[in-house]
């Protein structure tokens, strides 16, 4: 079972490369934000898997919980920060 967990953890690490591409080459800031959010939600599961590998789940589950909170707060803060930038690309069409 430990071997299977290691395989899943390595697979998740490889999977993080795909949103990282979007993070690096995204055309707008919001594309990069989506990439960061996706990487963060994979990291929560990865932390739990690391906890099982080191047999310290009781400690790592707290870290994963705090990381989920931090991920949420980071996305909210960043998107609120870019809220006021009118005309990132084109003219506004909501009005």
């Amino acid at each position: 079972m430990i071997i299977f967990f290691s395989c899943v953890a390595i697979g998740l690490c490889l999977l993080m490369a795909l949103p990282l591409v979007r993070c690096l080459f995204g055309p707008t800031v919001l594309d990069r934000l989506i990439g960061v959010n996706a990487i963060g939600s994979k990291t929560v599961v990865l932390l739990l898997l690391i906890g099982f590998l080191y047999e310290r789940v009781d400690m790592f589950v707290d870290i994963a919980l705090a990381y989920a909170f931090l991920n949420f707060v980071a996305v909210i803060a960043a998107s609120r920060y870019f809220h006021k930038r009118k005309g990132l690309y084109e003219e506004s069409f909501m009005d």
Binding site: L15, L18, G26, N37, V61, R80, H83, S92, F93
Partner: protein, 107 residues
């Protein structure tokens, strides 16, 4: 029991893979939010459920508490993920980004 855990983990991995591929393949960020925001949420649900089941192998009070904490993570993600998605969409709308549509793509 182990088989159930493996099924959960593989299913969650599949959802994560779909989310990651979808972020790369979708034409603009409004439509790439669909796989990013929700396939990831369901991936977390499946994987953490599997891990919580595996954690209950050695039944004790501490194991039950750790499993409850894992469900707390799932509950929190289910509350926060729509909020984060909505926040990003709102920022894009106020910045005036026009959504990609089928007609515009064919031009």
């Amino acid at each position: 029991m182990d088989i159930l855990v493996i099924i959960c983990l593989v299913l969650g991995f599949l959802f994560f893979l779909g989310g990651a591929v979808g972020i790369l393949r979708m034409p603009d960020f409004y439509s790439s939010l669909h796989p990013a925001g929700k396939l990831d949420t369901l991936g977390i649900l499946a994987m953490v459920m599997g891990l919580a089941l595996y954690n209950l192998h050695h039944f004790s009070l501490e194991a039950v508490l750790v499993s409850i904490k894992m469900f707390l993570i799932v509950f929190f993600v289910f509350l926060s993920s729509p909020t984060a998605t909505h926040s990003i969409v709102d920022a894009g709308m106020r910045a005036g980004l026009r959504p990609w549509t089928q007609k515009k793509g064919k031009e």
